[in-house]
């Protein structure tokens, strides 16, 4: 099957490629099947919870008219960052011609695909009327473009998904045919995807920072902060993924890319902390009503403190991770477990900060200065965890599909 026989065209060989990839991706050890089964089970719990939410109304969530977005939109925001974060592999690989990174860059692109799929699922989960989803489809629905930032987000997210599907699909397909990929067919798209990655997170920030009635979000620093934290969480996830891939599959040549990503986080995590500090100074030094949301977030307001433990956990994790990343020893092979710990702390820290710590205080106090607290309901957790499980399944399958390519490039 090294190249297309004379009597075959892409029409027949592409489905064969898909079939073959799926077959290979579902081959594996007992551990692999256990992992996939567990994820499927969790996903099914989430799917069931979501179906109940649609049938019974969103009363099953703990959102209210005061806090009208919660865990779903929090995760959505974070996942956009994760999708954009993969670009931190693409930039060294394609702009700085880092050969080692180039060999494994597909991991970042596959992560982007899984993350965007999760984003779209979180948006769906948040809709009160998912059955009317088609109203948002340009052409048959009524698309409020260019005024509504949400329509921009729909465009850039789907565009990013298609871009990455094309890039990964093309490269893997060429490998399947045993041909050398033709740069004309993917390099321009990779370049475009770099710009596009920045755009998805910028536009997602614009969703929030364009709202004058929500002082907590209404800051020009929001988009840059989003990017900085995306460039922490994305690489952190990829580092852990690569350490696992190395362990489980024997792909070699991952250590240099891991080092590069570690060095990237070292910078981005500090930039992120700097921006947080700058924002906090502006809020608290100025005072006034602008600061109430930040007060609620860090210290509680009128005795209501539901978010305070989250916030300080995030801060502690971010600072601890930043310190670890600054330590040069973290790069050495023998400190791998510590690197994983640091990545996980940075990841969870960003998840809280970009998720609950960003979305919820936008609503507390409400625009009429009511303090109505929000703690996600069990149903919301189930749906959320279910979507995460699905995303991990997509990512696992995607990586398995790409394994031959990854192994091949590590051979030479």
């Amino acid at each position: 099957m090294s190249s297309i026989p004379a009597n075959e065209t892409h029409i027949t060989s592409y489905p064969r490629f898909i079939g073959r990839s799926l077959w290979l991706a579902t081959e594996g050890s007992f551990g692999f099947y256990a992992w996939m089964t567990a994820l499927t089970a969790v996903f099914l719990v989430g799917a069931n919870a979501w179906a109940n939410q649609v049938a019974g109304g969103m009363i099953g969530t703990n959102m209210t008219d005061q806090v009208s977005w919660g865990l779903y939109i929090a995760n959505f925001t974070f996942m956009v960052g994760l999708a954009a974060g993969g670009v931190m592999m693409v930039i060294p690989a394609y702009l700085y011609h880092d050969r080692k990174m180039h060999d494994v860059v597909i991991i970042g692109e596959l992560l982007a695909i899984a993350a965007i799929v999760m984003c779209l699922m979180f948006v769906m989960a948040d809709l009160g009327r998912p059955d009317r989803f088609w109203h948002m489809v340009p052409g048959i629905g009524k698309f409020n473009w260019p005024i509504s930032m949400l329509t921009w987000d729909v465009i850039v997210l789907n565009g990013y998904l298609i871009l990455n599907l094309h890039i990964c699909g093309y490269l893997l397909y060429m490998r399947f045919l045993g041909r050398k990929p033709n740069p004309v067919w993917y390099v321009p798209f990779v370049m475009l995807s770099i710009v596009w990655a920045i755009s998805i997170h910028t536009i997602t920030a614009f969703l929030y920072c364009g709202l004058g009635g929500r002082p907590f979000w209404n800051t020009a620093l929001l988009a840059p902060r989003f990017l900085a934290s995306a460039f922490v969480s994305g690489p952190a996830f990829i580092i852990v993924a690569m350490i696992l891939i190395k362990r489980l599959t024997g792909v070699v040549g991952l250590d240099d890319p891991i080092a590069t990503l570690t060095k990237i986080i070292r910078v981005t995590i500090l930039i992120n902390l700097l921006m947080v500090a700058s924002e906090l100074f502006t809020e608290f030094y100025t005072g006034g009503s602008h600061v109430s949301a930040a007060k609620y977030l860090f210290f509680g307001l009128h005795g209501k403190t539901a978010l305070v433990p989250w916030t300080w956990t995030a801060i502690a994790m971010n600072i601890a991770a930043a310190l670890l990343f600054l330590w040069p020893g973290l790069l050495s092979l023998k400190w791998r477990p510590l690197l994983v710990t640091a990545c996980m702390m940075a990841f969870i820290g960003a998840w809280i900060e970009k998720g609950m710590g960003l979305i919820v205080p936008g609503f507390i106090p409400s625009t009429l200065h009511e303090v109505v607290e929000y703690i996600p309901s069990q149903l919301e957790w189930k749906v959320t965890v279910g979507i995460w499980a699905f995303g991990l399944m997509v990512f696992t399958i995607a990586i398995k599909t790409a394994l031959p390519t990854l192994k091949q490039s590590s051979d030479h």
């Binding site: 109304g57 977005w69 509504s148 409400s366």
Partner: protein
Amino acid sequence: MTSTEPSKNRSLPIVENFTRRAAVKGAFATLGAGAFVAAISPLRQAAKNTTAAEFMQQHYTELSPEQKADVIARLEAETKEKYGADVTIADDRPIPGTKFVYAINLSVCNGNGKCVEACHKENNHDRATNQSYIRVLEMPKGTMDMEQGSTTYSGAVPKDDKFYLPVQCQQCDEPPCVDVCPVKATWKEEDGIVVVDYNWCIGCRYCEAACPYHARRFNWKEPEVPTKEINPDQSYLSNRVRPVGVVEKCTYCLHRTRRGKLPACLEACPTGARVFGNILDKDSNIRWILENKRVYILKEELGTKPAFFYYFD
């Protein structure tokens, strides 16, 4: 013999393995798909509540008169079926040459909350959640800072050291809620009223996040109203019973005001604090107030240009 054996051994197990594995994978896939269908089975319940006609319904502004009549007939029948009430749903359009404006005299308002209650009944709000489009803030005298206010005050009103600030949709002339809606389910009509097509809204609640006056409400559940309490005088864009999962808001009671009546909250107000009218009518009371009183608007700095004014005597 010996030369064929190994090759057989090499090829056969692979083929066997292949078919067996394919069968196992197929079984697992079937099992997974079956479990998925079972997991999402509650959706069947939801699907029963949505007819094909409702699913396919076009945006309000794109319905032909015949389609509109069909939609309204369907909605009336649904209300009868679900709530047991005979209602008429009209399609009240703006009266040319009208721009509705509201004003509240804060020196007079005593925080009794009759408007909140009247809105609740007039607009067929869910009984269990005690929903209403109006919220009244109890504010300490000597400040305009809403942060000092409370929406959950109780006890006898008015209290000496307090004044009362009712807030509802300000029918902004630059409404952020309209800008953010991804599907144009909400828009501003010629007489200034911002409306929602409850059959087009996808329930993303972006407008709820965008509104600086907490004027929008989401239907977290299907509204429950006892048959006897249903207000049968309804309009498509205002007080008809809303479906679950969509956003709603104050419409200046367009099913009344576009028929020459006053909003329910105004009629219910025992103090006469509320003034409503057409600002384009030079002889109207509201016009006189805007010209002669020192009026102010809420959160002027946001540039939303409310069509809702407050003043003190």
